[in-house]
């Protein structure tokens, strides 16, 4: 062992060559699997396309028409918008149960500020959005600074906001006709425009500003998550908050901003809700939390945080929309539809898992 002191020197002559393993080809299925593994958002997209194709085959033109297709978009717009917000939160390994309540109370505020207090509708809308943002920020503060678990904070907030909603609104609906006459801005996101309708304006593809808002929100978040530091930090916080903190991420700031943005998007969802249902209704949106989480998870975002692509939940929401409409058109009754949607949820995720697994 006379070389004890300098044996390490022997390494210096080592080649700096990069290890080269032979790449292995195994045919189509593994290649597909690998490709999907690298682009996980494609999995829900494929499920979506397949389910549209299957229902299209079963139902023909009734389903496979511009009218029905855009109808699905309209039906999922609220859940879609909220799912975008929910995705952000879930990427940080959190969860937000208060999304639906925030959306509804935001819409009630927009309505009541306009009609009860006579505030100009533009300002009332801003107040509604500000309210959503503020509630979100409080959630974020409790989670980031007080270090309370997101589930429990937003569970509490859900109850608080919902009860406040009923107390404040006195469960009064503001009617569509009144809004249309006096504050049409509230219904802005419900504005429709048709493409390819018949002379009476029937049939054809129908889009609403709300649907466009949904798509824009997803596009915006996709950009922010991939192309900005804020987005990378969201993934880092969800992945391992302690490591993120140690490696220089301001975890508090990220969490508070994520919940605040979530609140803001819920405010927008509240606005879109007015557009969609015409009126301001305090009882709407009760299931938005479960529905948005379902969309997110079908969309392939891990509930443990840090993994998944934001476009997934959009496809997730659409998958549920396609199944709901498709099954109803097939004549399944409500309970059977629920049962089948339950099966769908499990199988969509099972397919996803299958595609991802094996040594890809």
């Amino acid at each position: 062992m006379s070389d004890a002191e300098n044996f390490e020197g022997a390494a210096s002559a080592a080649p700096d060559q990069v290890a080269q393993f032979q790449t292995h080809k195994k045919g189509f299925v593994p290649t597909l699997q690998h490709w999907l593994h690298v682009n996980p958002a494609l999995v829900p997209l494929i499920v979506l396309v397949l389910s549209i194709a299957i229902f299209g085959l079963l139902l023909g033109a009734k389903f496979f028409s511009p009218f029905a297709m855009t109808l699905i978009l309209q039906q999922v717009q609220i859940v879609g918008i909220v799912a975008a917000a929910q995705s952000l939160v879930i990427l940080t390994a959190g969860i937000d149960l208060s999304v639906g309540a925030i959306a509804v109370l935001s819409s009630v505020i927009m309505g009541q500020f306009t009609f009860r207090y006579g505030i100009p509708v533009e300002i009332a809308v801003l107040c509604g959005l500000a309210f959503g943002t503020a509630v979100g920020a409080i959630n974020g503060w409790l989670i980031a600074v007080m270090k309370l678990p997101p589930f429990i904070v937003t569970l509490g907030m859900w109850q608080i906001v919902l009860a406040a909603n009923f107390l404040y609104s006195a469960n009064e609906t503001i009617r569509s006709q009144t809004i249309e006459a006096e504050a049409p801005l509230l219904q802005l996101l419900g504005t429709t425009f048709k493409v390819g309708a018949d002379a009476d304006g029937r049939g054809g593809a129908t889009f609403t500003f709300g649907v466009i808002a949904m798509v824009l929100i997803f596009a915006f978040l996709a950009y922010a998550l991939r192309q900005t530091a804020w987005g990378r930090h969201i993934y880092a916080v969800g992945d391992d908050p302690e490591a993120a903190q140690l490696s220089g991420v301001n975890v508090r700031k990220i969490l508070i901003s994520v919940y605040a943005v979530t609140g803001l998007i819920c405010g927008i969802a509240g606005w879109a809700l007015i557009g969609r249902i015409g009126s301001v209704s305090p009882t709407s949106g009760q299931l938005l939390n479960i529905e948005s989480i379902t969309a997110v998870v079908i969309g392939g975002i891990s509930l443990f945080g840090g993994r998944g692509s934001i476009m997934g939940p959009l496809f997730g929401a659409l998958i549920v929309g396609v199944f709901t409409l498709g099954l109803r058109l097939l004549g399944a009754d409500a309970q059977w539809t629920f049962l089948l949607i339950g099966l769908l949820i499990i199988s969509a995720v099972a397919v996803d898992q299958w595609i991802r697994k094996v040594s890809v």
Binding site: K62, F166, S279, L287
Partner: protein
């Protein structure tokens, strides 16, 4: 068969026996008339969006008409208008829309009247004791849906209590009211709400309940403390288990409504519309077709019309 006339039935939920019977009634009638029926329901009471989506689905499906029990009576109006514009006839069942003429017709129970009948009966049964009754109000949900408010306020009116704002419950100041609590319209909620109010005031002697499952739950709570014999429970619905409960003395009186009738009338109206574009008539003197309500009790009192438990049994549903 593509040539069959399609009708839609959209209920608030399909977990409440009331709506289950409504659906059965509609199905039976549709089968008889050779129509196809598609039924939809919200997931929970108050689930408005699912109803909107259901209306849209019916339009997409090319249905001729819709029978609707709306969760949110005024918000649903724009969706209903959309359907009517698309050439469908829309008939409100059980729950009138706001405004009522937003639908082509309404076949409903008068819920306020249903409440009023049990209120009058309770007051008359107590006689002089009504002046210092201790009343528990077991309502539906914190969101105060309109059926719940109408029955609650109808009951108080019938009992002779000042309503305050007739559009909400809980704002009354009469000291005879021990309190309001919510039941979600089921046994469990009924029991818990009753227990809560009993803890507040153990000597409660009149219990208003939103429906019969809630009444059954309230009875269990009373039974567990041995007070089931000295309390008057009144309710609304007239489902078969409820009528049996009247027979057994669990419930003193209940206001019976007729969902099967609503449904079959509704299907007939859609068939008529599909055949010759005829729209249904309303009950004279009212702006809707009243499918009627009857007080079921074996302890009839003067001044309040009622039918016997036996008659109730023959007319009951579910």
């Amino acid at each position: 068969d593509d040539h069959k006339t399609t009708a839609c039935l959209i209920t608030k939920t399909d977990t409440n026996p009331f709506f289950v019977k409504m659906k059965e009634g509609a199905e039976a009638k549709a089968a008889e008339l050779g129509m196809e029926l598609k039924s939809f329901a919200g997931k929970v009471d108050g689930d408005h969006e699912t109803q909107v989506a259901a209306i849209e689905t019916c339009i997409a499906d090319g249905a001729k008409g819709i029978l609707l029990t709306a969760s949110d009576t005024s918000s649903i109006v724009s969706a209903v208008t959309q359907a009517r514009d698309a050439g469908l006839v829309v008939i409100a069942l059980d729950t009138p829309l706001e405004p009522i003429d937003a639908a082509d017709a309404t076949f409903a129970t008068d819920n306020f009247l249903a409440g009023e009948l049990i209120g009058q009966w309770a007051a008359a049964t107590l006689g002089d004791a009504a002046a210092d009754a201790k009343i528990a109000m077991l309502d539906l949900a914190v969101s105060q849906p309109s059926v719940g408010v109408l029955r609650d306020q109808g009951f108080l009116q019938g009992f002779g209590i000042d309503l305050g704002d007739p559009n909400k419950w809980g704002d009354e100041t009469d000291p005879r009211i021990v309190g309001n609590d919510v039941t979600q319209g089921n046994e469990e909620g009924g029991r818990k709400a009753m227990e809560n109010l009993l803890a507040k005031e153990p000597m409660i002697n009149v219990v208003y309940t939103i429906n019969e499952p809630a009444a059954a739950g309230a009875y269990e709570a009373l039974r567990s403390i041995g007070r089931e014999k000295d309390v008057l429970i009144v309710s609304v619905d007239g489902g078969c288990p409820g009528v049996e409960n009247v027979a057994d003395g669990v419930i003193g009186a209940t206001s019976q409504q007729y969902p099967l009738l609503m449904a079959s009338k509704g299907i007939e109206a859609i068939a008529a519309w599909a055949n010759d574009g005829a729209k249904p008539e309303v009950t004279p003197g009212k702006n809707f077709f009243d499918t009627g309500v009857a007080l079921v009790t074996d302890k009839a009192v003067d001044g309040v019309d009622s039918i016997s438990v036996e008659d109730g049994r023959n007319l009951c549903w579910g």
